[in-house]
Assembly symmetry: C2
């Protein structure tokens, strides 16, 4: 049942049905009554686009999320919800499994659902122009991009500079007098944002004249959910069981920091008296840990708004590829001690 069918049944044009639905004054009141009656009888629900001017064109985009179990993306989803409503777009959320290729799924969805655009959350830091061409609608990568790689004419990305922001966290630890600083990274073969955050760690140590100790660079071993509490817990537990001297730990996600809290407290050590901890992302829950977690907060609000703006610019105005990088913020709370 479409607006066309209703028009046919009422023996009027589509625009007249639209006027009846939209309560437009330029319609005969008798005709309007007749149309609304048919609509009610047929249980016809006008779709969102029928309430706008362009009736034949549904304005829908898809959010493809890699890492559905990541509370960080979950928080962003709510902001997308609010912001897309403002621009009168409807949207679908589509979780992508760890082993799935998001560009292949994007191609399929665009065909099946007649989408105007795609936003990728998580996943790829780079995507080929060939893939983007095949998808056929504008795609924005949100939260994942590498500022040191320039984007192509069809590549849109909105993110922080992960390397620079991780630097802030480790620089802060160094300024608090820490020299024996461990980092808990993603998997050793990670070449996405985890790798960039690790580079920021290296940069900060170098600037503070602290020599790099490979034994303090810890990779998680898990197959999946690499930024999870479980991985933070088991990695830090193993570190504390070794004899390695360490006064501070930087975990590249807040979830991993939550796991680290557990490992440290189980060992009978105190945060920050015995070990300082710093996370990354700025999850809301970090405020509710005891001690509250010092972290680097990503500007989710700004990144979501910019992603939508960039996507609409590409859809409506044919804007060429671009990359927008936002600053994150070091949030100093209670989990880092000054040891100088």
């Amino acid at each position: 049942m479409t607006i066309k069918d209703i028009a046919k049944m009422c023996n009027v044009g589509i625009s007249t049905v639209s006027r009846a639905i939209n309560d437009d004054p330029g319609i005969n009141q008798e005709t309007k009554k007749r149309i609304l009656k048919v609509i009610e009888e047929q249980n016809f629900v006008p779709n969102k686009s029928a309430r706008n001017l362009k009736m034949t064109e549904a304005k829908t985009i898809a959010l493809l999320i890699k890492g559905t179990n990541n509370p960080f993306f979950q928080g962003m989803l709510r902001i997308f919800e609010q912001e897309l409503q403002k621009v009168e777009y409807s949207y679908l959320v589509y979780p992508v499994a760890d082993d799935q290729d998001e560009t292949a799924i994007a191609m399929e969805l665009v065909q099946e659902r007649r989408l105007k655009g795609i936003i990728f959350l998580g996943g790829l830091t780079e995507v080929s122009e060939v893939s983007l061409d095949k998808i056929g609608v504008p795609c924005v990568r949100c939260t994942v991009s590498n500022p040191s790689i320039s984007v192509g004419t069809k590549d849109y990305a909105v993110s922080i500079d992960d390397r620079k922001e991780a630097y802030k966290a480790v620089d802060y630890l160094c300024k608090c007098g820490h020299k024996d600083i461990a980092i808990v990274c993603g998997r050793e073969d990670d070449c996405s944002i985890g790798r960039m955050r690790q580079e920021g760690y290296m940069d900060a140590l170098l600037d503070h004249g602290i020599s790099y100790d490979p034994q303090l660079v810890l990779y998680v071993k898990g197959e999946v959910c690499e930024f999870s509490a479980q991985n933070g817990y088991s990695t830090v537990k193993a570190l504390l069981e070794s004899d390695k001297k360490v006064t501070a730990i930087f975990l590249i996600s807040d979830m991993m920091a939550f796991g680290a809290y557990k490992a440290i407290k189980e060992k009978g050590l105190r945060i920050p008296e015995d070990i300082s901890v710093i996370g990354f992302d700025g999850l809301d829950l970090t405020r509710f840990y005891h001690p509250s977690l010092t972290t680097v907060r990503q500007p989710c609000d700004q990144m979501v708004k910019a992603s939508i703006e960039v996507l609409l610019g590409a859809i409506n105005d044919g804007n060429t590829g671009e990359q927008r990088i936002f600053p994150a913020e070091l949030i100093v709370r209670e989990s880092v001690r000054n040891i100088e």
Copy 2:
């Protein structure tokens, strides 16, 4: 571009195109090559249903989630992902805002997206037969239902018995010798699962001969996110600042228990030495708190599988309305002390 267009271009029938795509042996190899070449040239991506027998019928359902910010639903989403893949259904996830009517959205989606069915996560504990009729496809309420209300012929529900399971938590506290037991509920006007869990609390007190003290029944004051860490934190903080004697607190969600941990520790009190805490839901993070949180774990896996089974039974076999109730499990960990 659809399979019909490809068929027209190749001057063959739709079933021949389908055979080419599905690598069916009953097709001339030359014809197959020709079709695949056109498919490649046109960048045509066969949709999932084209790979099954019923080509014209997309098998898609929608998950409508009320409470996108609830990690509990987030965990379930992953299970839906796995299970729907097994039955070769594709799905859309659609977040429903707190103030939106999920049945109205369902009606709209069914029309726009030609869905086979709907699963509601969170939200309504009851839904009228009239609304269900209007939606026009089977709808399963997952995690929300009231076992004491029998379902209509078009009403499908899969959940735990919230009242009985909350009873388990409070019964356990009583058996550990606690008499001054507070409960942190949802808002005072809540008439959904929060209310049922509160009834379970009352039942347990009654059975243990503990008189009911209204001052120990705490409602959250927030407008939104009623089961959040923030609400758990502020409610328990206020309780501890009063002179009210309390040895144990039951929070009707784990997220609220996380907030309670913070309030208790900030006050300089210990868990469980000074105050025992028990949560509800069984979030994965409960294991990573210190002390680990005693909670009631909902059988997410079973509930998801049953929801899909019930929905497919309604879609394919026209099964009549039903309600499936699963038992939850008390997970005894470290946050409750025996004070006898």
